[in-house]
């Protein structure tokens, strides 16, 4: 079968000297889903940004329908039928969905008169529907992504690139996405699918290519012929062992207690009673958007508490500053809100350290030492301490965030989706760190949309649904089925 696009011998050296790709070739075929796997920082996103015309390769060529093509920018790529869905939706948040669609159609050369009709057709293919009049900002991430896919297909895309599309999706939403991809395949689109989640590969990929440190280590494998373990080994080499909890049982000291808490953000949450003891991991499961964000905000202190009490390490209703100073740590779910991406890695570490320890005189050498300690201990791959945090690969940003919090040896940790976007090995590694933290006597509250993660680490699992805790299960009884029932709101 003839590929729609072919990348040949792509080399990419970023301006700061990072060699992200070192001679990578990739072919995308019509009606096939080609999964691109690889550890964090392997170069997957870089390769796709080149295919989308956003950045230029240092060397190598691009063939479209067998003929060499050159893109001066994303617009050229869009015109030629290439569509990219980034890990974090790229729609202008202050405009409406419709306005975003119009701008995209203008780039793609779709006449305005055909817009409605084309969208209707794309709705049929994908099974997606999105409110066109809504401001993008007001939509959850999943809906934004559906809007992007819908408009790409409506604009007549022949190649659809999906960069870790399930990062911000619930399991139910993944099923919708899989159906949309199925529809796109039937229309003959070539799909590139980047993910760290191997079950997804098994479910929807027709071909698999694995990258490692900017090179192809396996090309166009048949996913049915390879087990998850094999794929994982190709991606990262040896896998670290699964984390295990020593489960010495919780201690007596309560590190977090919540009583009659009512808080309001986007929605209202009410929690009658919730406790985390030292040496314990309490998992909080639930479909995203059921009040997790508000509850987390009320614990750390940035969501207004209407009534009730939150006590963190003896501090009653702490402000965020008091929260950190008390010796508690927090890994937020949205790393773009916790890192200043245009500041350097070392500076970001300094901020996070400041939150815990207060003002201190900072010198370059001290910052560099802090960086060396943390990067060495947690294996963060950055060009130098002074590289902007935004130049790290998605996974390394997440590692930086987790490392900066764990490095403070907190006595209470609130972690929200701490392994989102991490490769298999790093996921195990970070989970191991959380397990160790609890084994060493800290209390942990783990909020995650990944049930496996919750079950693997938690001593008890609380389930949240529509702003209420619908049940708390001890580790032995926390099966996916029971948690699922409680997530649906069954008490």
């Amino acid at each position: 079968m003839e590929p729609v696009v072919e990348l040949r011998g792509i080399v990419k050296v970023y301006p700061d000297g990072v060699r992200a790709l070192d001679g990578v070739s990739l072919r995308l075929y019509p009606g096939r889903v080609h999964a691109v796997l690889g550890e964090n920082g392997a170069g997957k996103t870089t390769l796709m940004r080149i295919l989308y015309g956003e950045i230029k390769p240092t060397r190598g060529e691009l063939l479209l329908d067998g003929r060499p093509a050159r893109f001066r920018g994303t617009r050229d790529a869009i015109r030629r039928g290439i569509a990219m869905i980034y890990q974090h939706p790229r729609l202008v948040p202050t405009l409406t969905v419709w306005e975003n669609v119009l701008l995209y159609f203008a780039s793609a050369g779709v006449p305005e008169g055909e817009a409605e009709e084309r969208l209707e057709e794309a709705r049929r293919i994908t099974g997606f529907d999105v409110p066109l009049d809504a401001r993008v900002e007001d939509l959850p991430l999943g809906a934004r992504q559906r809007a992007e896919i819908l408009r790409s297909i409506a604009a007549g895309a022949r190649v659809l690139i999906l960069d870790e599309p399930t990062t911000n999706l619930t399991p139910q939403e993944f099923e919708g996405l899989a159906r949309a991809i199925e529809g796109a395949k039937r229309e003959g689109l070539a799909v590139a699918y980047i993910t760290h989640r191997l079950p997804e590969v098994k479910a929807i990929a027709d071909l698999v290519t694995v990258l490692r440190r900017g090179r192809v280590v396996a090309s166009e494998l048949d996913p049915r012929g390879a087990s998850e373990e094999e794929l994982a080994r190709l991606m990262v080499g040896e896998l670290p062992p699964r984390p295990s909890r020593s489960r010495g049982g919780p201690g007596d000291r309560v590190v977090l207690s919540i009583e009659g808490l009512r808080a309001r953000g986007r929605m209202e949450v009410f929690v009658e009673r919730l406790e985390v003891r030292e040496g314990e991991v309490l998992g909080l499961a639930g479909v995203e958007g059921n009040g997790q964000e508000e509850l987390v905000g009320a614990i750390v202190g940035y969501t207004p508490r209407l009534s009730g009490r939150v006590v963190v390490l003896g501090r009653v209703n702490p402000t965020p500053r008091e929260y950190y100073r008390a010796g508690a740590a927090y890994i937020p779910g949205d790393r773009s809100k916790a890192l200043v991406l245009h500041f350097s890695v070392a500076e970001n570490l300094a901020f996070l350290r400041y939150a815990h320890e207060g003002p201190a005189l900072l010198t370059f050498s001290r910052l560099a030492r802090l960086y060396r300690e943390v990067a060495g201990e947690y294996g963060i791959v950055a060009e130098s301490p002074w590289a902007p945090a935004g130049s790290l690969s998605g996974g390394n940003q997440q590692k930086l965030l987790a490392a900066s919090q764990l490095h403070m040896r907190p006595r209470f940790l609130l972690a929200v989706n701490p392994t989102r976007g991490l490769d298999v090995a790093t996921t195990r590694y970070v989970r191991g760190l959380i397990a160790r933290l609890a084994d060493e006597g800290a209390g942990v509250m783990l909020v995650s949309s990944d049930l496996d993660e919750i079950i693997e680490l938690s001593d008890r699992v609380a389930v949240i649904s529509r702003g209420r805790i619908t049940g708390i299960l001890p580790a032995g009884k926390a099966t996916p089925e029971r948690i699922g029932l409680l997530m649906g709101g069954a008490a």
Binding site: Y14, L91, V92, T94, L95, A106, A108
Partner: protein, 298 residues
């Protein structure tokens, strides 16, 4: 103040408004694209100077206006080259522009007209009409027309949508196939060209000559009007009217009443209004989100 005096002050206010309004509306367009140009004061001065020079040299006020426009556009191009393409610091570039224009035009007076203070009166002054014995430039009604056009451009055209997209979220705009650089360049040049026209108005039309440092802070007042407006052209027009009236009232108190003490409050009130407006949080939320930030892809 008699009703007649009040009406005259109103007319004077409209005359004073033009410079600020054109400059501010131009800056709204540039800032919506994410580029801040605090060099407006310098653009006003440089284009005012060149307009007078061209007017005297050719004997045509139209040549004066065109020269002002060209000067504005050229300086806008320079600012965009620094801010958008070289990704330099926009504030420093603006400060540099202000300083260079102040020095350059002062030197220009000496070099061309042989004194240290001002040019001779222009050879050709644009046509105007008379209201209550006050000369009113055709630029006054034209400014309202420009406001409507600029509003339409930003709020009703695809280009306007692109400008807002690159000003609020350049990364997403890039992914939508919009050239962040070209859109910002166009908005910056357009904005500066309007300031150029404003500068020409100030010298050949409003005053009839060039006087050393004659812009007297109007470029900064325009920046205040932009903030006051919440980054909206019609709001900027309204803000400029308020500033223009403040200007006219203080002129009224100093020249007709002969009391400069009473004049100060009227010059101050518009600033206090601006401060109050921009300190409201709802107001700040309207600021273009990527304002002043260069866009880097890699």
């Amino acid at each position: 103040m008699t009703p007649l005096e009040a009406a005259i002050v109103g007319v004077l206010g409209l005359n004073a408004m033009v410079t600020i309004a054109l400059t501010a509306m131009g800056e709204v367009i540039a800032e919506r694209s994410g580029v801040v140009n605090i060099g407006l004061e310098g653009i006003l001065l440089a284009s005012a100077w060149l307009a007078v020079y061209a007017d005297i040299a050719t004997g045509s006020w139209l040549a004066g206006y065109l020269a002002g426009l060209a000067m504005g556009a050229a300086l806008g191009l320079m600012h965009a080259a620094i801010a958008v393409y070289a990704r330099g610091d926009q504030i420093i570039a603006g400060v540099g522009l202000n300083l260079a224009a102040a020095g350059g035009t002062t030197l220009g007076i000496r070099a061309v007209w042989g004194n240290y203070g001002q040019s001779p009166p222009v050879a050709s002054r644009p046509p105007a009409f008379d209201v209550l014995g006050v000369r009113v430039s055709y630029m006054v009604p034209l400014t309202f027309l420009v406001a409507i056009l600029a509003w339409w451009l930003l709020e009703r055209t695809e280009w306007g949508l692109r400008v807002k997209a690159v000003g609020d979220d350049p990364r997403s705009a890039d992914a939508l196939g919009i050239s962040v650089e070209r859109t910002r360049l166009a908005a910056t040049v357009l904005g500066a060209a309007l300031a150029g026209v404003a500068g020409a108005y100030m010298s050949i039309d409003y005053l009839g000559s060039f006087v050393k440092l004659m812009s007297a802070g109007r470029g900064f007042i325009a920046l205040a009007a932009v903030a006051f407006s919440g980054w909206d052209v019609l709001g900027a027009l309204l803000g400029s009217i308020v500033f223009g009236l403040g200007d006219a009232l203080s002129t009224y108190y100093t020249t007709i009443r002969g009391s400069s003490a009473a004049a100060y409050p009227y010059r101050t009130i518009p600033y206090i209004l601006t401060l109050l407006a921009v300190s409201a949080t709802a107001w700040r939320a309207r600021m273009p989100r990527a304002l002043g930030r260069p866009y880097k892809r890699e």
